[in-house]
């Protein structure tokens, strides 16, 4: 009974712990913006807490630098299960312009598993609210990958790629 009660409480209110992993503060300002009365993410029971031991969800912003990566790992391990990790911003999602830099891991999912990705540089406050609602299951997912082809009619792309893998024509630049 207590377990069910706790599960219901966790589902209805998500307490967030905000982790800055080398962010430029742009995403942090947008996260604070989301907590203001205009966007008011506390409607969904979300609020910032001061320690990961009280948190249900981690909000990670910034490309994870090498210096902060072990600390992020410890924060993740200190958060009680079940936990949700939300990566906010293009840095935390894919590394932004530091995706292949030597002192940066480039993305949160290189060190801890991520549940919700919110890309944008920085994302709009509405986008963060949307991501939070997506984590709670209130809204459907809207983004789909765009795959387009412009090939001659009757062209067999798979056969061409298979043939190119066997004998690549290196004379083509």
């Amino acid at each position: 009974m207590i377990r069910d009660f706790c599960a219901r409480m966790v589902r209805n209110s998500l307490w967030l712990f905000h982790t800055n992993c080398g962010s430029c503060n742009g995403c942090d300002i947008e996260i604070i913006d989301v907590l203001t009365p205009y966007y008011d993410v506390e409607r969904f029971g979300m609020k910032l807490v001061s320690t990961p031991r009280h948190a249900d969800a981690l909000i990670v912003s910034g490309p994870v630098s090498r210096q902060v990566a072990p600390a992020l790992r410890r924060v993740y391990e200190a958060t009680p299960n079940p936990k949700v990790v939300i990566a906010v911003g293009a840095c935390a999602v894919g590394g932004n312009i530091w995706f292949d830099t030597y002192n940066v891991l480039g993305g949160t999912d290189r060190i801890i598993p991520v549940n919700v990705y919110i890309p944008g540089c920085p994302p709009r406050p509405e986008a963060i609210v949307y991501g939070a609602a997506l984590a709670l299951g209130l809204v459907p997912k809207k983004v789909t990958p765009q795959k387009e082809k412009h090939l001659p009619p009757g062209f067999d792309l798979d056969a061409y790629l298979a043939d190119y893998a066997v004998n690549p024509r290196d004379d083509l630049p």
């Binding site: 894919g94 995706f99 387009e148 083509l172």
Partner: protein
């Protein structure tokens, strides 16, 4: 003190509701907003200008023989719209979509596959069929049979802030 609290309560009641009802109502973006990028494979000539200027290098061009595969890693896209500015054919633009949050990173990887051909003189790849088709059409860079080229070879684009945001729904094909 009680009076002042009462006055405060009256002010709060008179202020009305300020909170956006966002996830339950659609949000409006400002006209200058740059959102998720979108592209058109029928217009792209594979010149690679967008990949050249992309600051986070989220546009990656891969030459596989006579196939040009352009991958868009939208997870690290910073929505600067430089690709829109340099594209000579307006084959890539920014939309007003900002609801790009997802739980699967594969949703943020778009792809475009083009058939290119190599020039017999210089050996470099170029796109053939639709580019040559567009030479004869009237709308291609304002040049047509008997028409003077008023806009020049490279058309001057208006800055992005004067462009109305294009919606995700593509214009009907002619």
């Amino acid at each position: 003190m009680f009076k002042s609290k009462l006055r405060e309560a009256v002010i709060c009641l008179g202020a009305g509701r300020v909170t956006l009802r966002y996830p339950f109502e659609p949000a409006v973006v400002p006209p200058k907003f740059r959102g998720k990028i979108q592209f058109d494979a029928r217009k792209c000539i594979g010149c690679g200008g967008c990949a050249n200027v992309c600051p986070p290098r989220c546009i990656v061009i891969e030459d596989i023989g006579e196939i040009c595969r352009i991958t868009f890693h939208l997870d690290r896209c910073i929505q600067c719209a430089r690709c829109y500015e340099v594209c000579p054919e307006e084959a890539i633009w920014t939309t007003d979509q900002f609801e790009t949050a997802t739980d699967d990173k594969a949703d943020l990887k778009s792809e475009m596959t083009l058939w290119m051909s190599s020039c017999q003189r210089c050996g470099r790849c170029f796109e053939t069929d639709n580019a040559i088709d567009r030479f004869q059409s009237k709308r291609w860079r304002g040049r047509g049979p008997g028409e003077a080229n008023k806009r020049g070879i490279f058309p001057v684009k208006p800055p992005l802030e004067f462009m109305p945001p294009k919606s995700l729904v593509r214009e009907s094909e002619e």
